[in-house]
C-alpha cells in the first residue's frame, strides 16, 4: 500500500523531513513512527497507517514535502514487493534536465550551498510555506502547475504561488484571468473585515518578500562558522517580528512573596513525585493566573482590528514557553480552569517533555489564551517578554530570592519572586494592567494547602 503524508494540522500543508525512522526491508507495526516532519512550529511524528514490510522509502531527510505526497510503499506481510511503486514523494517534479544520455546528468542534483540568494527572487521555499485555509493548494505535487511559461513568469514576479491558483481551463490549466481573479481575491480578503466564521487574513500570502540586507562577509575580520537557519528559528523570527511590530508593548514589573508557597511545595513535592508529577512554581502560576484572568477577562482576550472587535474567551488555555535545544516552543495546556494544581503539574510535565522531544503536534500549540514564561530555573531576574499574539498578555517569572522586606513595620526575610507582565496596550491600559498584577500577586499569596492536596 501507498503511505502518503497525512494532514499535519490547520494551515500546515507541507514540511521538512527531520528524521526517517525506517528503511527499505524493515518490518513495521501499525502506528509505529515512520518519520518526523518539521512544519511551521512543530516536529510531528507520522505513524504507519498499517503494519507490513517497507518496500520502498521515497523520501529522505531534508526533503520538503506536501500533504498527500507519497512517503513509503508498504507490502503486505509476507507478500513480495509487488506493490505498485507510485509517485515520487519529493515535491519537486522530475527534473527535465535529467533526460539526456550524456555524462554529468547528476551534477545538478547536488544542492548548491553557500550561495546567497538574490534579494529580489521569491525563494523556492516560499511556495511551500504553510498558508491560511482560504488559499489552499489546488494542484497536485509532482508536476509544475499547468500554466504557460509567460504566465509562470508573471506569477514569479508577483510572488504568487501558482499551486494555490485554480485553473479554469481543461486539465486545470491556469490562464491570465484565473491569476487576475486570484490576485483580486487576495486584495478583497485583505480589505474586507473578517467574518466571524471566516478564515484568518492571508498574512502569509500578503507578505511581500522584504528586501534582505546584503550579505556581509564577516570572515574578513576573523574566522566564522555558518549555520543554516532552521525552520523553527525562521518561524520564531517571523512570529516575533510580527508581534513586535504590531503590538504596542508595555511591561509591568512586580514581585510576589512566595515564602509560604515554597513551604507548601516542600511539603507536597515528594507526594507529587510519587505520582510522577513535579510541583513547581509554574503549576502555582497557572492556578493563580486563571483566577486573575477570571476577574480580568480583558487579559484573556484577542483583538480583531479588521472587525473592530475585542474577543473575550470563556476558556482558559495557558501557553507554556518551553526552552528546547532547537529553540522556543509554546505548547498549550488546555482548560486550565478545570484542573487542580496536581492535574496541572502532571500535564505540565507531560507537555514539556513532549515538546522537548519535539513530538508536540501543531494542534497542541494552538488555541492559547495567555502565556507564561518561567525563567526562574535559569536564574533570571526581571525581563520583558513579548506578547504571544493573538493573545494580549504574557506573564514572566524570574528566580525567587531571599530578601529583606518590611512586614508590619519590621524588616523580615522573605523569598520574593520577580513577576512581569507584558501586555498589548491596544486592549488594556496601564491601570487595568496594574489591577491585574495586584490581583495576580494576591492570587499567588492566597494559594492554600487545600488547593495543593492530592
Amino acid at each position: 500500500m501507498d503511505v502518503r503524508l497525512p494532514r499535519l494540522g490547520e494551515g500546515a500543508d507541507s514540511g521538512v523531513i527531520a528524521t526517517v525512522f525506517v528503511k527499505e526491508g524493515d518490518q513495521i507495526q501499525k502506528d509505529q513512527p515512520v518519520l518526523e516532519i518539521e512544519s511551521e512550529k512543530a516536529v510531528a511524528t507520522i505513524p504507519a497507517p498499517a503494519g507490513g514490510r517497507v518496500a520502498k522509502v521515497l523520501v529522505k531527510e531534508g526533503d520538503e514535502i506536501r500533504v498527500g505526497a507519497l512517503i513509503l510503499v508498504l507490502s503486505e506481510n509476507g507478500a513480495g514487493v509487488a506493490a505498485a511503486v507510485a509517485a515520487p514523494a519529493a515535491a519537486a517534479p522530475p527534473p527535465a534536465r535529467a533526460i539526456d544520455a550524456s555524462v554529468g546528468d547528476d551534477a545538478r542534483e547536488e544542492p548548491v550551498i553557500d550561495v546567497p540568494a538574490p534579494p529580489r527572487a521569491l525563494p523556492a521555499s516560499a511556495r511551500v510555506a504553510a498558508g491560511p485555509s482560504g488559499f489552499p493548494i489546488v494542484h497536485p505535487a509532482g508536476a509544475p502547475p499547468p500554466a504557460s511559461p509567460s504566465l509562470r513568469k508573471i506569477a514569479r514576479e508577483l510572488g504568487i504561488d501558482l499551486y494555490r491558483v485554480a485553473g479554469s481551463e481543461r486539465g486545470g490549466r491556469i490562464v491570465m484571468s484565473d491569476l487576475r481573479a486570484y490576485v483580486q481575491k487576495i486584495q478583497r480578503s485583505a480589505l474586507e473585515p473578517r467574518s466571524t466564521t471566516g478564515s484568518p487574513a492571508p498574512a502569509a500570502v500578503l507578505q511581500v518578500p522584504k528586501p534582505v540586507p546584503a550579505s556581509i562577509d564577516f570572515s574578513q575580520w576573523g574566522p566564522v562558522t555558518k549555520q543554516k537557519i532552521s525552520t523553527l528559528r525562521r518561524s520564531i523570527s517571523r512570529k516575533m517580528v510580527e508581534s513586535w511590530t504590531t503590538v504596542p508593548h508595555i511591561t509591568q514589573f512586580d514581585e510576589v512573596d512566595v515564602t509560604e508557597l515554597l513551604v507548601l511545595r516542600k511539603t507536597y513535592a515528594p507526594k507529587y513525585e510519587a505520582k510522577k508529577a513535579h510541583l513547581t512554581l509554574t503549576s502555582f502560576a497557572i492556578h493563580a493566573v486563571v483566577a486573575a484572568l477570571r476577574k480580568h477577562p480583558s487579559f484573556n482576550a484577542s483583538i480583531d482590528e479588521a472587525a473592530g472587535e475585542i474577543i473575550f474567551k470563556d476558556y482558559f488555555n495557558i501557553g507554556i514557553a518551553v526552552d528546547t535545544e532547537q529553540g522556543l516552543i509554546v505548547p498549550v495546556l488546555r482548560k486550565a480552569d478545570t484542573k487542580s494544581v496536581f492535574q496541572l503539574s502532571v500535564e505540565l510535565n507531560e507537555i514539556a517533555e513532549k515538546t522537548r522531544a519535539r513530538k508536540i503536534s501543531l494542534e497542541e500549540m494552538q488555541g492559547g489564551t495567555f502565556t507564561i514564561s518561567n525563567q526562574g530555573g535559569i536564574g533570571s531576574g526581571h525581563f520583558t517578554p513579548i506578547v504571544n499574539t493573538p493573545e494580549v498578555a504574557i506573564l514572566g517569572m524570574g528566580r525567587s530570592v531571599l530578601k529583606p522586606v518590611v512586614r508590619e513595620g519590621k524588616v523580615v526575610q522573605r523569598t520574593m519572586m520577580p513577576l512581569v507582565l507584558s501586555y498589548d496596550h491596544r486592549v488594556n491600559d496601564g491601570a487595568n494592567a496594574a489591577r491585574f498584577v495586584v490581583d495576580l500577586v494576591k492570587e499567588f499569596e492566597n494559594i492554600k494547602e487545600a488547593d495543593v492536596k492530592i
Binding site: 521515497l58 507519497l70 510503499v73 505498485a84 511503486v85 507510485a86 509517485a87 515520487p88 517534479p93 522530475p94 527535465a96 534536465r97 535529467a98 533526460i99 539526456d100 544520455a101 550524456s102 555524462v103 554529468g104 546528468d105 551534477a107 545538478r108 547536488e110 548548491v112 550551498i113 553557500d114 550561495v115 546567497p116 540568494a117 538574490p118 529580489r120 527572487a121 521569491l122 523556492a124 509532482g142 508536476a143 509544475p144 502547475p145 499547468p146 500554466a147 504557460s148 511559461p149 509562470r152 513568469k153 514569479r156 514576479e157 485553473g167 481551463e169 481543461r170 486539465g171 486545470g172 490549466r173 491556469i174 550579505s215
Partner: protein
C-alpha cells in the same frame, strides 16, 4: 597595468556565451566576450552540432540515393571527395561564425581573443596575442563548455584513436571503424562514417544503446543501425588499445569472453568533461562538484555571488539549447529580473537515422518514479506522409496524466523527429491536455499529424488506427 572596466564579461563564445553576451548588450550592459578560438561559436558551431548535422545531411543523401532503386531511380555508386566535403563543411561554419562576429559588432560587444584566467572575484586576466589584458568586471558569466572525454587508457597519442572533434575532420574513410560508446555522439558519427563506406562496430558497456531514451523509441534506431552498421554490441567493454602498425589493436570483454580485434580507426565517444582547468577558479569562490562541473543555484549563480555559470560547464544535460536558456536566466538575474531555471523542460534530439527526440517525462522515467501515467502511441505505418517516402519506421508517443489528461511527455522516433518535437515542448510548457492537441487541426499530409492522431488515439478515435479503448471522457 591598467585594467579595462566592464559591467559583464562573458567567458566563452559558444551558444551559451554569445547568447548571454548579446542579451546583456541588448539590455544596455557593457559587455566583453572572451574566446580563445579564432572562430566564434564554440563546440556547437565548430566541433559539434553544426558540422555533424552537415555530414549527416550528406550521409542521408548517399543512403537515400542508394535506396531509391526501389522507386525505379538508379544512381551509380557515389564518388566521395573528402577535401571538397570538408571545404563545404568549413564554408557553413565560416558563414555562421561570421554571422556571430557581425552580430557582436552591431551590438558593441567587444570580442577579446585569448585565454581567460580569474585573478580574483572581479578580475579576469586575458592572454591575448598582443599580451596580457586585465578586465575588471561587475559580473562574469562562465560559459567555457566541455570537451570530449578520453580515458587515459585509450589516449595512445595515435591520431587513429579519435574523439568526436577529430572524427568531424574526416581525414579518411577508415575501412573498419570501432565506435566506443553507443550514446548519441557515437551513433550519429557512426551513421556518417557508415554512409561514407566504413564498416562500423559499436560497443556499449550498458545493456542498450542510447540509454535515457525509452526502449520502444530507441528500437527503430537500433534496428536500422543494425543494417547500416556491421554490428552493435551491448554489455561490451573495451579493456585496452594499442597501436599495431597502421591499425589499432583493441581488447574487448563481452561478459567472461575476451576478444582481440584490429580496426583502422577508433572513435571514443564515452562522454564529455567540463573545461574547468586553468581558469583560476581557485582564486574565486566558485565551487565545483566531484565531476568538476561548476555548481550553480537555480539562478545560475555560482558560489561567488558576482560570477555565474551556464551551459555544459554548469553540468546537467550538455545541450546547446540548455546553455542558451541558462544564458537568458543569468542575464535576467544580473539585470534584476526574477528569473530561475525552474520547471523548464529541455528537449533532447538524437540525429541518427531515423531521428529520436523527446521532451518532458519519459515513459521509463514515469515507471521508475512511480508516476501514474497513460501512454498513447501512434505508429508511423499509419501515416500516409511516412509511407510516401518509405520511412514507416517511426512512432509518436504521448505520456499523459490520466486525471487531468495533461501532456507530461512527448517522444518521437522517425525521420525528422527533431523538427517535430518543438510542438511537444510547447504543449507541455503550456500545460496542454491531450484534448488540446487532438482539437488542433494539423495539416495533411504531414508527419505533424501523428501528434494529433496520437492524442486522438488516447480517446480511442484516431482516424488512421483502430483500437478498442476507453470511452471518451470529455464532458
Amino acid at each position: 597595468m591598467k585594467a579595462i572596466k566592464t559591467e559583464i564579461v562573458v567567458l566563452g563564445a559558444g551558444p551559451g556565451g554569445y547568447a548571454a553576451a548579446f542579451y546583456a548588450a541588448d539590455k544596455g550592459k557593457k559587455v566583453i566576450m572572451v574566446e580563445q578560438d579564432k572562430r566564434l561559436g564554440g563546440v556547437c558551431l565548430n566541433r559539434g552540432c553544426i558540422p555533424s548535422k552537415a555530414y549527416l545531411h550528406a550521409a542521408k543523401l548517399v543512403t537515400e540515393a542508394e535506396e531509391s532503386s526501389i522507386r525505379g531511380i538508379h544512381f551509380a555508386k557515389p564518388r566521395i571527395d573528402l577535401k571538397e566535403m570538408r571545404a563545404w563543411k568549413e564554408s557553413i561554419l565560416d558563414k555562421l561564425a561570421g554571422g556571430i562576429t557581425g552580430l557582436a559588432k552591431r551590438r558593441n560587444v567587444e570580442v577579446m581573443q585569448g585565454r581567460g584566467y580569474f585573478e580574483d572575484s572581479s578580475t579576469l586576466r586575458v592572454e591575448t596575442a598582443g599580451g596580457q589584458q586585465f578586465v575588471k568586471f561587475d559580473n562574469a558569466i562562465i560559459a567555457v563548455g566541455s570537451k570530449a572525454a578520453i580515458p587515459s587508457a585509450f589516449d595512445l597519442g595515435n591520431p587513429r584513436v579519435m574523439t568526436s572533434t577529430e572524427a568531424l575532420e574526416i581525414e579518411e574513410i577508415p575501412k573498419d571503424l570501432l565506435v566506443v560508446g553507443g550514446g548519441y555522439i557515437g551513433m550519429e558519427l557512426g551513421t556518417v562514417y557508415a554512409s561514407l563506406g566504413s564498416s562500423i562496430v559499436v560497443v556499449e558497456a550498458l545493456d542498450a544503446i542510447l540509454a535515457g531514451a525509452d526502449p520502444d523509441l530507441a528500437r527503430p534506431v537500433a534496428q536500422r543501425a543494425g543494417k547500416l552498421f556491421r554490428e552493435i554490441r551491448v554489455k561490451t567493454k573495451v579493456v585496452k588499445m594499442a597501436t599495431a602498425g597502421k591499425q589499432i589493436k583493441v581488447n574487448l570483454e563481452v561478459g567472461p569472453e575476451k576478444k582481440e580485434e584490429l580496426y583502422d580507426r577508433v572513435l571514443v565517444s564515452v562522454g564529455r568533461v567540463p573545461n574547468c582547468a586553468d581558469l583560476g577558479l581557485e582564486n574565486t569562490r566558485v565551487g565545483q562538484d566531484e565531476k568538476g562541473f561548476i555548481k550553480v543555484d537555480e539562478h545560475q549563480r555560482t558560489g561567488d555571488p558576482g560570477i555565474f555559470a551556464i551551459g555544459d560547464v554548469a553540468g546537467g544535460v550538455l545541450l546547446a539549447h540548455k546553455a542558451s536558456k541558462e544564458a537568458r536566466i543569468a542575464v535576467e538575474v544580473i539585470t534584476g529580473e526574477m528569473s530561475a531555471f525552474e520547471d523548464i523542460i529541455i528537449p533532447a534530439v538524437v540525429f541518427t537515422d531515423p531521428e529520436l527526440a523527446w521532451c518532458g517525462l519519459t515513459e521509463s522515467e514515469a515507471k521508475q518514479k512511480g508516476v501514474n501515467v497513460e501512454v498513447a502511441k501512434f505508429p508511423w505505418s499509419a501515416s500516409g506522409r511516412a509511407l510516401s517516402f518509405d520511412r514507416t519506421d517511426g512512432m509518436t508517443k504521448l505520456v499523459i496524466d490520466p486525471e487531468s489528461e495533461r501532456i507530461l511527455g512527448v517522444g518521437i522516433v522517425g525521420s525528422g523527429a527533431g523538427e517535430l518535437i518543438g510542438e511537444g515542448v510547447l504543449a507541455i510548457e503550456m500545460g496542454a491536455t491531450a484534448k488540446d492537441l487532438a482539437e488542433s487541426v494539423h495539416p495533411h499530409p504531414t508527419l505533424s499529424e501523428t501528434l494529433s492522431e496520437c492524442a486522438e488515439s488516447f480517446y480511442g478515435y484516431a482516424t488512421h488506427t483502430y483500437a478498442k479503448k476507453k470511452a471518451t471522457t470529455e464532458q
